[in-house]
Symmetry: D2
Subunit: 440 residues, 4 copies
Amino acid sequence: MSGIKVVTIGGGSSYTPELVEGFIKRYEELPISELWLVDIPQGKEKLEIVGNLAKRMVQKASVPMEIHLTLDRKEALSGADFVTTQLRVGLLDARAKDERIPLKYGVIGQETNGPGGLFKGLRTIPVILDICKDIEELCPDAWLINFSNPAGMVTEAVLRYSNIKKTIGLCNVPVGMRMGVAEMLDVAPERVHIDFAGLNHMVYGLNVYLDGKLVTDQVLDILSSGASMTMKNIVDLGWEPDFIKALRVLPCPYHRYYYQTGKMLAQQAEELNEKGTRAEVVQGLEAELFELYKDPTLDIKPPQLEQRGGAYYSDAACNLINSIYNDKNDIQPVNTRNNGAIASIPHDSAVEVNCVITREGPKPIAVGDLPVAVRGLVQQIKSFERVAAEAAVTGDYHKALLAMTINPLVPSDTVAKEMLDEMLEAHKEYLPLFFHEERV
Amino acid sequence: MSGIKVVTIGGGSSYTPELVEGFIKRYEELPISELWLVDIPQGKEKLEIVGNLAKRMVQKASVPMEIHLTLDRKEALSGADFVTTQLRVGLLDARAKDERIPLKYGVIGQETNGPGGLFKGLRTIPVILDICKDIEELCPDAWLINFSNPAGMVTEAVLRYSNIKKTIGLCNVPVGMRMGVAEMLDVAPERVHIDFAGLNHMVYGLNVYLDGKLVTDQVLDILSSGASMTMKNIVDLGWEPDFIKALRVLPCPYHRYYYQTGKMLAQQAEELNEKGTRAEVVQGLEAELFELYKDPTLDIKPPQLEQRGGAYYSDAACNLINSIYNDKNDIQPVNTRNNGAIASIPHDSAVEVNCVITREGPKPIAVGDLPVAVRGLVQQIKSFERVAAEAAVTGDYHKALLAMTINPLVPSDTVAKEMLDEMLEAHKEYLPLFFHEERV
Amino acid sequence: MSGIKVVTIGGGSSYTPELVEGFIKRYEELPISELWLVDIPQGKEKLEIVGNLAKRMVQKASVPMEIHLTLDRKEALSGADFVTTQLRVGLLDARAKDERIPLKYGVIGQETNGPGGLFKGLRTIPVILDICKDIEELCPDAWLINFSNPAGMVTEAVLRYSNIKKTIGLCNVPVGMRMGVAEMLDVAPERVHIDFAGLNHMVYGLNVYLDGKLVTDQVLDILSSGASMTMKNIVDLGWEPDFIKALRVLPCPYHRYYYQTGKMLAQQAEELNEKGTRAEVVQGLEAELFELYKDPTLDIKPPQLEQRGGAYYSDAACNLINSIYNDKNDIQPVNTRNNGAIASIPHDSAVEVNCVITREGPKPIAVGDLPVAVRGLVQQIKSFERVAAEAAVTGDYHKALLAMTINPLVPSDTVAKEMLDEMLEAHKEYLPLFFHEERV
Amino acid sequence: MSGIKVVTIGGGSSYTPELVEGFIKRYEELPISELWLVDIPQGKEKLEIVGNLAKRMVQKASVPMEIHLTLDRKEALSGADFVTTQLRVGLLDARAKDERIPLKYGVIGQETNGPGGLFKGLRTIPVILDICKDIEELCPDAWLINFSNPAGMVTEAVLRYSNIKKTIGLCNVPVGMRMGVAEMLDVAPERVHIDFAGLNHMVYGLNVYLDGKLVTDQVLDILSSGASMTMKNIVDLGWEPDFIKALRVLPCPYHRYYYQTGKMLAQQAEELNEKGTRAEVVQGLEAELFELYKDPTLDIKPPQLEQRGGAYYSDAACNLINSIYNDKNDIQPVNTRNNGAIASIPHDSAVEVNCVITREGPKPIAVGDLPVAVRGLVQQIKSFERVAAEAAVTGDYHKALLAMTINPLVPSDTVAKEMLDEMLEAHKEYLPLFFHEERV
Ligand SMILES: [Mn+2]
Ligand SMILES: [Mn+2]
Ligand SMILES: [Mn+2]
Ligand SMILES: [Mn+2]
């Protein structure tokens, strides 16, 4: 590749300036000649706002990176080297429903591995698989790097139901955990290494090293003494110290939804009353951001963006692309085909696991068996992801109900059905496969 | 073996007359010459009441089966051919606590795979492992057939932490399912075959056959139209018809605790208010039974016993012993070493699966992978059983907390710890391993 | 089924009278109303000779079993309950080449798992897959029971490349081993049970029981003291006593080809000089048998047939059909889908393993891992079978060469290619897939 | 670590100057302050010759690396950071017997995975396990890097029978393959990447990349047109072009012994007649080298050493140590615990597979299933290695016989026993475990 062509689908996202900044910073070793920002007609206005900011940023930085804005996905994809997807089918309105409807039934929405995530998957997967068909035709050698949630379920679907093999799902959770551990230990993040393994938003740190020495127990001790390691969008209710000692591996912030279900539900219900759903909060933040972006004198990523959540996402993305392009052989935790890396997960399923990143793509590091105590929950989410992905590609009502019922956050088959029916209706316009004919 | 010697530990149980009746009925092909009923000093009175009834039953039936009553386990075990265990460490009082304490925290006690089952396991496993040591010394060729709950966890512990290989865990749930299906189809049970696989109280009917033809869909249709297939001790709240269609395999009655957690909890809380715990109800039933048993003119199993629950248990036990003794090669679902029969469960773990029963013991039938949708829950309960068994043999507080927290009925680490601490204290006298020294 | 219809493809075989005798003996519990013997035009004469004998046998026995002779396979298959296949594509002439050509290169032909078996598979598999298509259309509920060698490779091919799931591969080797052990122990065969596991003609007795007690060591001791346990068609050169002690499981007679390659080769070369190939010897025996069969006064299976080799084959077949029809639940070693029964062999591959035989078919008993020492050879033959089956269905020259070269009897890639080329040419008329177009 | 301490056991080897040169070249990033060369009393003279050359080399290069020569292993090991082992128990005389005795029986000796390798393992493994005990006591944090053959069997034994987890087996074959491919493609080796997987001396290149693009087919085409890729010590008889096309993965030079057994045997027999065994040839080379080494004016590695074979060994060793020390995260193929990296090989067995090399050690890259065609041979050698390692630690005659007989180079149980008995006698003084008491 000389003169790299990157296509970002969902380019009108408020995160785009971070991505652009990341590319600018790395321009010397990662010479992107064309960055295509693609969006759908409804996103045209935002695309232009963000796109113009991107152009000003590039100009200010004096790097010869062309910014293209388009609503024509096929035009953009032609000859691409890297395709990134940061979609939100149905926008934040849909997410608000994903969060609000379950709460009516006393259930956490959880926009990735919960009922909300099921619906985000049902809306997103068919779109991603359409993109896969375009890639196959227009840029068969490109890497598809997906940031759209639920990233684990999406990667599972791409591996299982498309012909694209060069695909990677990306998440900022592991980076955040490494940063959090570094902070707890009061050391530079580069000195910390974590053996990550599990699924997206269900990833564990099996071992933690400082300068190559095992410090897992020490880190778990600090964590059980109340140190925080969470994310902007997940409240930290504190772990039960003895539980963390008992677990003996580092949980991720999303584990709170499963190991602290009752407490998290109460907290979410309260927050809903006070501030509305997280989606609604984000809508406010986004509106403010786009106001900033419009300012024609702004030519850098505005610092307010960091308040938005999603820290490290673009950094993770840029690092991943950079490592592939430059064959860096560094270790990054990504979502990829398991291939035996985690025992008891099928070889052909997606997992989130440390990989060495080469120009041939990510190569998963074999970690063997997960600890007995965590195998069950991981397997349960994997079952959920697989059944949900099957529902998404078939539009099969019963598969969707099955996915909903086996989700560990859902308290009964009856509640599952009630939520499912209400959510199907609410998201009807984004679920053509479920409504294209009479349900039998 | 000529003149079979059977030893029943916990012989003073109210179920014993059923077992005795089963042995009497099969005497011709299963010539038991000695039946030793063993109990502990606190159970002496009941042992004598039941034992005397047993003697009258044998006499009435004119079979030359000697009934021995003893408090000396070692004397009984010497030279035994079959040892059955039907223990209740702490008696029904302990079970009442297993049920009542969790309900205080808004959690179903579930005396087998729930928090109650964890404590029943912690109390029972060390006693069973002691019996294993006696068997190794006094009757190393005997078969140990365990009916004590949690039968899956106990079998896991015996396989993992004793030297006894000839062990089988037994449950009446699969027999009950077969009876239930036969009733739904209105046919004789012998015409129905079910491919059972899973764990104890977490077993699925993967395929259902009538006269060798697959009728799974037909049976699931009947089940989703509201037909019942439950047990005396598990209320039937009705399955969500679409869920059953979606599941595509036959669940067991205990699955209600996991697929209908919310509803079952509400129901149990209500029942507690009205009638007390199930343990307390059973205490009443038992008192009545023992009054009946005392009647010196009673020389058959009184019909009231069938109201007690546990239907088919003794029948299952007698059939199992009979098939081993007579090398019957019939298929029975029992708890045994997996050996690869169910993929994704370790070879050395206990599973409940169809086995062909031979004089060399049960040989598990390989079923391959469980359906994707049920793999997660099964794995989660297996994780729970393994961690719980490890806690039981080590007395490790953190392992116990880990088992409690990963149990799918438990809503958070904090609730887990609170319940654990209260239950440890409540059962203190039966948990010497947890209290023999200061907890670190 | 009432009035069972059995179709025997390759019905003109000299073995047929044994099969007919077996059906007659079992008529009371296995009421076969129609037995269709099917053959190809070249086999018309033999079919008539054998068929007429069969008719006389049935008449003499006074059982109402209709014997039909036909060259029209489709007519025969319509509505069949059981289809047995005992084909020899290319007849004994082809087998003679399978044996003679390899010997020219200093290689044992071995008509099942050796170079000869590769070619027998290449000739046979496409014919069997054609039969599968007919079964799918004309009798989709029938059981396909294949006796044709190489039975393991054929079963692998049917499982992998046809839509027929109700298929079983059958071999007399395990029955013979059981008989041999009974003889060594001087007991009735019914008292002996062997845990069989492995592949066709590569099967081991993992444990041997007499009346339910383990006697493996005792049997291996007898075997290492020189007792024989072989088959009519495999010379017994004696096992190295220390090797048998070291192996600790019971080998099958065909294992001599792999554990005694050098000696067997020398022996075969010598025998070739003296008597010609085994195929040629059999041709003589067959000619004599057909002379006998022609005798219009003969109305029983002539005792000379037992000299022919293949002892127990028909018995095994009749027992298998009987157990399926009558849901006998007895344990029989057959070739079937592994399903996890033998660890380290893929679930979807054929294995030869003890199964419980029910009206729903054979259910494999999980044996877990094979002993370390035998895993390699078993895996190697499984690799050979899979690559050979792929070659047979594709007609791919390179796959055929790969199968030939990885066969443990073949000493080098060069010899493999030379043999392959000569054998392809020699069997040209039976290998249309390999010659339908120019090899690239 | 500051001031790295390296201990080389078998330091008197003729290879040592290469290692020293490698350390000198890398001194800046790999500051070894002490290099201890350890040998046994019989090797004292050679140790001094080599050690003095090492001292001169260091002095000439002006690096502050202390060279210590000692016969006291414990003194050397105390506080070591890296321990390398390059032993030859019984010296080249023993190797000559490993090669010569099998040839008498018409069998290739093959000093690693053949009968010769079995005996090299029997002699070497107990010594290595002794070293492991010393390491546990004297430098428990050290890395044990073993070059001694049979490196796969030795690594298996260390993983299975010692408490040392930080162990790596090293071989120059993969480096040689990469060099060979680079030469075939006429490109710099750095541009070639190969996905290595298998066992020591039984490793395959599953995929070959040039600049990140798959070129496997192209490389196999070149290889089948006669290009060579072999080693000094393995003659290249040419691959059968169609076989290489059929195999579709890159074999290693040692594969000739298994895929070209007949030809290799003939070649070795001829060479024996002409030049004696390879061991004897090497003895001559070594004598010449030591003459050179004695020259007090020599202060560099003499170029003649490169004729000795074993090219790249020291380079591989230095690179490995360097990557651990500097956390380089580069990919190197080494022998390590499988951990699921190669499906169908147990997790706890040694494999040779690409690993990313970090300061926490090598992390194996999951490759999933090996191609069907090669799984069998790999499994067979793994079985051989495991049984042989068990024989080595127990001194069990029957295990040794079992290992010998299942080796794919050995033609029969009888030949196996004859060779075994002769070789046991020949190596008696180095096999105390086999002779410490009367064989039962
Ligand atoms: Mn994420
Ligand atoms: Mn039960
Ligand atoms: Mn056979
Ligand atoms: Mn090597």
